[in-house]
């Protein structure tokens, strides 16, 4: 039943993308006009590019923050501390995305927490604009998607055989070499899986770009919502399928990377030295 609803809905959506919205009404008959207009419009390419850029930046930042955090979690000896850290990192997932975006709006606003401190400490004289800017949306999304980066990395690290590191140390590897030659190559899988998840979620995120972007940071998801508001369904349908295409391409690409990486990792370990 649900699958039927889903399938039908997606087909209707595809049909709509081959219609056209002109002078406030839907034209009858099928046409590729909407697709052509969409794909030749500089405005839509700017929206598409902004969406992809947001995905890439969020992946890079969550990886840069999430990897050391996952590593620290792996290194924590105390089980209690570890449990507490996990709990505190994942607890925000239980609060609504709207709540978290609202919190960031309070922090990043012109008279918000950060600007207040910056001005009081005479670091800047004018508030730094972050809310309703790309930077604000990025910060909000990084916060929301960070657990999705940490979790795959931490679970890959957890499955490692601890004797590997001991063996490397016995063979004379110091902490850095041990990390560079043993831990990192073995945990790249988690990093790729996390990036896949975060990228797919970031490019299709709606609430955070729309609330922290305030209409000034238009991405594909918010474009679809606005089109529906202005009754331009064919345009929204095209945007939906473009977004889906990018999500599929990204998932395919990361799956490919994962397969290549697993292949090379296996080859390195199995190769006689």
């Amino acid at each position: 039943m649900t699958s039927f609803v889903f399938g039908t809905a997606m087909v209707i959506l595809l049909l709509y993308s081959f219609r056209e919205f002109r002078n406030g009404t839907l034209t009858s008959g099928h046409t590729t006009a909407t697709w052509t207009a969409f794909l030749t419009s500089a405005y839509f390419w700017s929206v598409i590019w902004r969406t992809i850029k947001l995905g890439l930046v969020v992946v890079a930042v969550t990886a840069a923050i999430g990897y050391p955090m996952a590593l620290a979690l792996y290194r924590l000896r105390s089980r209690t501390l570890r449990f507490i850290a996990y709990f505190l990192i994942f607890a925000p997932l239980l609060t609504s995305v709207v709540v978290r975006s609202y919190g960031w709006a309070l922090i990043l606003g012109d008279s918000g927490v950060i600007n207040n401190l910056l001005i009081r400490w005479h670091i800047v004289h004018q508030p730094v604009r972050m809310l309703y800017e790309f930077s604000g949306v990025t910060i909000g999304l990084v916060h929301i998607l960070l657990p999705f980066m940490i979790f795959p990395i931490a679970s890959v690290l957890d499955q490692l055989d601890p004797t590997l590191e001991q063996a490397a140390a016995d063979l004379g590897a110091n902490a850095f070499v041990n990390f560079r030659r043993v831990l990192l190559p073995l945990s790249v899988q988690g990093l790729i899986a996390g990036s896949q998840l975060v990228f797919a979620l970031a490019i299709s995120a709606f609430a955070t770009p729309s609330l922290l972007g305030g209409g000034r940071v238009q991405v594909l998801a918010s474009e679809i919502y606005n089109d529906v508001g202005t009754l331009d369904w064919p345009d929204a349908a095209v945007a939906s399928y473009v977004l889906l295409a990018f999500a599929l391409a990204a998932i395919g690409l990361f799956s490919f990377l994962l397969r290549v990486q697993t292949g090379t990792a296996r080859a390195t370990w199995e190769a006689p030295r």
Binding site: F6, V97, G103, S204, W233, L248
Partner: protein, 282 residues
């Protein structure tokens, strides 16, 4: 007693601490702001006030959406548990011709962006005349939570001891009795985790719901979204604080429950299986 940490390790732990603070920051700010006497979230708060809480309960208009969201989360969880467990059983136990396509179809809502699902569902329900009904929301939410239930149930199913089922059959149990008394009880950890995931996802769902809700059938997240776009006063912070308190209670209960049922293993196996499901999908 002093424990000396190597400098690299200390740096790593310091980073973790900063990361945890970053994760908690916006939530802490929201709680503080709910007592802010200023009506536009001025910082630092000029004074202490509880008027946003009275505003919330007197004329926030969140009561109806809150009730609807709870009903929806429970109903969608029940539906996706029933459908998802059976689907997982069918996938694991029978050599179906449609196995791969079925798997792909079940995992598809994970990949298709939520806004696209919501928009597609909106058009469909409008055509069917169901737009704005509870049933249309229930279908949408079941669709979204189903992949998680199937994934976790499949993981749980892979781990059960099949000799218990064989023993039950040998002792004369009917297939239905075997399912109910031998198979499902062994999966209870995974199913509890699936229920928890499903409840949380449904209760927080905004991206698809915003298209499907009618003007009189807002869920809590959509009502909050619309409120934040219109007003931005700390009434939202007061509501958020109430929700945060509720989710802390919920998380504690959940941690205890999952710990007791041994569902944590199923949870950590989730990433691997989810990745596998994603790869299978296209």
């Amino acid at each position: 007693m002093k424990v000396r940490l190597p400098p690299g390790r200390a740096l790593l732990y310091g980073f973790l601490l900063l990361g945890v603070l970053f994760a908690l920051l916006p939530i802490a700010i929201v709680v503080v702001d709910s007592f802010n006497s200023s009506s536009f979230g001025q910082w630092p708060p000029p004074g202490f006030s509880t008027r946003w809480y009275s505003n919330l309960f007197d004329n926030g208009g969140f009561g109806g959406p809150a009730v609807r969201s709870v009903e929806l989360a429970v109903a969608a969880t029940a539906a996706s548990l029933a459908v998802g467990t059976l689907a997982a059983l069918a996938l694991a136990r029978y050599r179906l011709h449609v196995r791969r396509p079925l798997q792909g179809f079940l995992a598809a809502p994970l990949i298709v962006p939520k806004v696209a699902i919501g928009f597609a569902a909106f058009i469909l329900f409008l055509k069917l005349g169901w737009y704005g009904s509870f049933g249309s929301l229930l279908l949408t939410h079941t669709l979204i939570t189903l992949p998680f239930v199937v994934t976790l149930a499949t993981a749980g199913l892979a781990r059960i001891d099949r000799t218990v089922e064989e023993a039950a059959t040998d002792l004369g149990a009917t297939p239905l009795q075997v399912l109910w008394r031998a198979t499902l009880p062994q999966m209870r950890g995974a199913l509890a985790a699936a229920a928890a995931f499903s409840l949380i996802i449904s209760f927080d769902e905004l991206d698809a719901s915003i298209f499907v809700v009618g003007q009189r059938s807002n869920t809590l997240p959509t009502a909050m979204y619309i409120y934040m776009q219109k007003y931005q006063d700390p009434t939202l912070a007061a509501l958020s604080t109430v929700l945060i308190a509720a989710s802390l209670v919920g998380a504690t209960l959940l941690a205890v429950m999952i710990g007791r049922l041994g569902g944590l293993r199923a949870l950590s196996a989730r990433t691997a299986t989810a990745a596998a499901a994603l790869e299978d999908a296209p």
